[in-house]
Symmetry: C2
Subunit: 241 residues, 2 copies
């Protein structure tokens, strides 16, 4: 793909380059959706408030970036040098409200000397729904769309791709009540299918240098109607906040 | 694969059925490794102690199962009805110390009326190393091996496949110091590559009814020397325990 900028139709960029089939699952990097939606901000235009200045000191981060993190969050969960973990406006528990400084310089930026950052899409499930509809309008094909991002985990090192937006996808596969091969009734198995698809896509995307922002998964049976928001654990069931 | 029982060589079962190539990554379900290692226990032979009885009451679980969970754990982190989250003997934070009741009836079991459960391999990294060596001995091919299991997450609903054992694999891809497409130096990106591979494998394994215990990932560049234990976050860096 070329560099994506504000106003670009990601759906058209994709359909011009790829023959979709019914049932294809697109895993799309959050960043190109954000850029197409103009969710790019110059730090030079941000004025940090008192809370951001204090939190910047504790986290050893740029106070302007911290202001954006606060603007994009419902609550701050943990802070240590180099790390701010929040519940973001969309309900995701993640570092820095998903705001990323890499791979942001682009044709919308006026000057290479400014520092630009990329915010998450305002409503990634809605972004996924629109992209799915755009592809259907262009091609007549019914595809599933996952918008993925890389998240850290509570007890495991390393980031993995997760779904922050989804449309036309089986987000969770509820296996409760199904039988195993011996007739035993499975009791507690709800699989985070969209997150497994997101991780598989992330594996192929690599990061940054490779520049692969979209992966198409074909041959997997994952058509459905879920949204990524369904992967958010209700706070009252959360044992680790 | 046929039903796997104690003493079976998983390596031979696989090499008899599949032509491996150098660089293949095998994602192998924990359960067939556990069964081959005889890590199957009849609840009828377990006598719960006082701690297990108390914890069984709080978690509404079978006290014999809870005794096994305690035996397999370093510490209990959270309890609620239907759920016991522990740090297991291997260092994994997971539900029920990874002990599973499904898909366990097998030729090693004497009676269908007993209730059998399956424990995790005692040392999954070592199990992976042995399987990798067995395949090399049989075929001369250098493969990577991941033993996966399905884990819940702190803030996300649904389980995903993760790596609990690994050999011959790039477990974490450290992108710190790499440059993005615009020359920006990536600062905090360590990718949990083995977990993304495990999730991709898990996606195809489905669960139980499908009975696909091994997935081969070909064409991905993931050869390395890591162990899954490297994915355990050091407790002093853990913000959520």
């Amino acid at each position: 793909l070329p560099e994506v900028g504000k106003g670009d139709s990601v759906g058209r960029l994709l359909t011009e380059r790829f023959q979709f089939e019914d049932g294809d699952v697109l895993v799309v990097a959050q960043k190109i959706i954000s850029k197409s939606e103009g969710r790019v901000v110059s730090l030079a235009e941000v004025t940090p408030g008192a809370e951001a200045v204090e939190l910047a000191s504790r986290s050893e981060k740029d106070s302007r970036l911290v202001q954006l993190i606060l603007d994009e969050s419902r609550s701050v969960l943990r802070v240590r040098p180099g790390l701010i973990i929040v519940e973001d406006r969309r309900g995701w528990v993640c570092a820095n409200a998903g705001i990323d400084r890499s791979n942001v310089l682009q044709r919308d930026c006026n000057s290479l000397e400014d520092e630009w950052v990329c915010l998450l899409p305002a409503d990634p499930d809605e972004s996924a729904r629109r992209l799915r509809e755009d592809i259907m309008a262009e091609t007549g094909k019914q595809v599933g769309v996952i918008i993925n991002d890389s998240h850290g985990r509570a007890w495991r090192d390393g980031t993995v791709g997760v779904a922050i937006g989804a449309a036309g996808i089986t987000v969770k596969s509820d296996r409760r009540g199904a039988h195993d091969r011996h007739g035993y009734v499975l009791q507690h198995t709800i699989i985070g299918t969209a997150d497994e698809l997101a991780a598989a896509g992330s594996l192929l995307m690599g990061q940054a240098a490779e520049g692969v922002p979209v992966v198409v998964i074909r041959g997997v049976s994952a058509t459905g109607e879920g949204t990524a928001a369904e992967l958010q654990r209700p706070k009252e069931l959360d044992l680790f906040r």
